[in-house]
């Protein structure tokens, strides 16, 4: 079955030999919104970097990771990165241009679009994240929430079919979290979100994958897995409060 993302037997070792990923398997269908949970050090970030070919450093093209049915190879890196938009954990790492406009335009520029198309994409993306008119602002002056939104705009400007996010709500205040959730809900792409924010996952994701020690230890509907207190505690997580109390809806 070909899905938007297909990972089969993915392994990865760090330079000093420790195994970060020990055979990860999962498939994500187009349009799904999936949460990726796990304790620190479980390999979540490392896994995400495999989804657009940044890792492994030498691409073997052996089919461990497939995007829309195609294995990632040196040859199709460009097309993979067009389809998979990756949002990094620290927005400062991703926001490397001096102004908002330049940063959001970076992706389209690399894609080789014309000046007018780039402008159109920049305006559209900034509008999507609610930051129209921020074009001339200097990137180092933005608030944390604004930085995250500009990063999202920069990724959306490439019009990806898959969105991969690494801890998007860390350092966000409650309002920022809510706004970001609404933003993401409005984007139709397939989404894989690595996060510690369990309440957020319940509100946003229909399915959850739990990673621990480099392997997938659970994969299923959000409420099923998050309600399984024993499982959660065993893997450095816990049952979120939102599920502890009965809500009228």
């Amino acid at each position: 079955m070909s899905g938007a993302i297909q990972v089969e037997g993915l392994r990865y070792r760090y330079h000093d030999g420790t195994e970060a990923l020990r055979g990860v398997n999962f498939t994500i269908a187009p349009g799904e919104c999936v949460g990726l949970l796990g304790p620190n050090g479980s390999g979540k970030s490392t896994l995400l970097l495999h989804l657009n070919g940044i890792l492994p450093e030498k691409l073997l093209g052996d089919g461990a990771v497939r995007i829309a049915g195609q294995a990632i190879t040196e040859g199709n890196l460009e097309s993979v990165r067009r389809q998979v938009g990756l949002l990094f954990q620290d927005p400062d790492d991703q926001l490397f241009c001096p102004t908002v406009e330049e940063d959001v335009a970076f992706g389209p520029q690399q894609l080789g679009l014309s000046g007018k198309e780039i402008e159109a994409r920049v305006d559209h993306s900034l509008g999507l994240v609610g930051l129209s008119g921020y074009g001339q602002r200097a990137t180092h002056h933005l608030s944390h929430g604004e930085k995250r939104r500009v990063c999202l705009a920069g990724v959306l400007a490439c019009e990806p079919t898959v969105l991969v996010l690494d801890e998007p709500t860390s350092d966000l205040d409650p309002r920022g979290r809510r706004e970001f959730k609404t933003l993401l809900q409005g984007i139709p792409a397939t989404k894989l979100i690595a996060t510690h924010d369990l309440e957020w996952v319940v509100e946003l994701c229909t399915r959850v994958i739990v990673l621990d020690g480099g392997v997938v230890v659970a994969d299923g509907p959000t409420t099923d897995i998050l309600n399984d207190e024993a499982l959660m505690l065993a893997h450095g997580l816990e049952k979120p409060h939102i599920l502890r109390h009965h809500h009228p809806h």
Partner: protein, 323 residues
């Protein structure tokens, strides 16, 4: 040691700028050739790092404080060519955004701190670390090289100021060299400590730089040494060397004639000359040589203190990738 606008005349600024442009051009070409693409952002980040590190003040005797330049540290970690590019960026931003250093003096400042300082200091580092093997040699090299870079930069600076008739050589050189022989100790010390900390945390940063044999100096490094020597010959030699009689008139025509020793100059640097030695040049040279030997001894001692045993440091670091 950032020279502002107006302290150097046109001739000096232009000459220094020409030498620096040459050095920078060589450095850029070298960096483009040997720097792998994933290290390109590191140049910018290293420049930001240098700036932040230069904010670190350390106390110098008498209530004043010095601060590091960091050129040799960056050169030891990333190579002399990268260090020159990085220092250029730092100087440009310091000049334009912080009014530290003049626009017309950019060439001179880059020559002093980049080519004389980082380039010359790196040469010293390589010489020391090739004689003394292993980490101890490298740490000692960074310490002594850092000190040397400060002093070399100060000498170049004094030469340029004398060329421009802003300050007489006879006053400028002893003061600049003397003060910076002390400040340089801080540079060497902090550089060595930082270098050690970096190598212990992330040995792979250095792995690419360490030459296989550690013996011979590659041609690229000598280039900057030659450029530094050329600059010293241009800016310093006219003052430091006593002119043979026949050349005196030529020197006078070119404007290099020795300026009358000001009274104040004597008072300001009385202890720079050892008593009992008649020749002024001889006394200065001896004092300088003594100071250099003392600092070298200190650097060797530091190396011994900091690097106690030969350990396999690669096992100690956690090699998790930065994400």
């Amino acid at each position: 040691m950032h020279i502002p606008d107006g302290f150097l005349d046109g001739r000096t600024a232009a000459t220094a700028a020409a030498l620096s442009a040459l050095g920078l051009g060589l450095a850029l070409r070298q960096v483009r050739r040997e720097l792998p693409p994933q290290r390109v952002p590191l140049l910018g980040l290293a420049a930001a790092f240098l700036f932040a590190a230069q904010m670190v003040n350390f106390p110098v005797a008498g209530g004043t404080s010095g601060h590091v330049v960091g050129g040799v540290l960056v050169a030891a970690l990333l190579g002399p060519s990268a260090a020159i590019v990085v220092l250029t960026a730092v100087l440009i931003i310091q000049c334009f955004l912080f009014a530290d250093g003049g626009v017309s003096a950019l060439g001179a400042n880059l020559f002093n701190m980049g080519i004389l300082g980082a380039g010359g200091g790196y040469l010293v580092y390589r010489l020391v670390s090739s004689r003394l093997r292993g980490l101890r040699g490298q740490v000692t090299g960074v310490a002594f090289g850092g000190w040397a870079s400060t002093v070399l930069a100060a000498i170049g600076c004094a030469g340029e100021l004398a060329w421009s008739h802003t300050i007489a050589w006879s006053a400028g050189f002893p003061i600049m060299a003397g003060v910076h022989m002390v400040i340089g100790i801080g540079e060497g010390l902090i550089g060595a400590l930082a270098f050690l900390a970096i190598v212990r945390m992330r040995p792979e940063i250095l792995a690419e730089r360490t030459p296989a044999s550690g013996g011979t100096l590659p041609g690229g490094v000598l280039r900057y040494g030659l450029l530094a020597a050329l600059g010293l010959a241009v800016f310093v030699a006219p003052f430091a060397c006593p002119w043979p009689d026949g050349f005196e008139s030529v020197a006078a025509k070119l404007g290099f004639d020795r300026q009358p020793t000001p009274v104040a100059g004597h008072a300001l640097a009385p202890d720079y000359r050892l008593p009992g030695i008649k020749s002024a040049v001889g006394a200065t040279a001896l004092a300088g040589a003594l100071g250099t030997v003392v600092v070298l001894g200190l650097a060797l001692l530091l190396g011994r203190l900091l690097v106690r045993k030969r350990r396999d440091l690669t096992k100690e670091s956690t090699k998790e990738p930065p994400w």
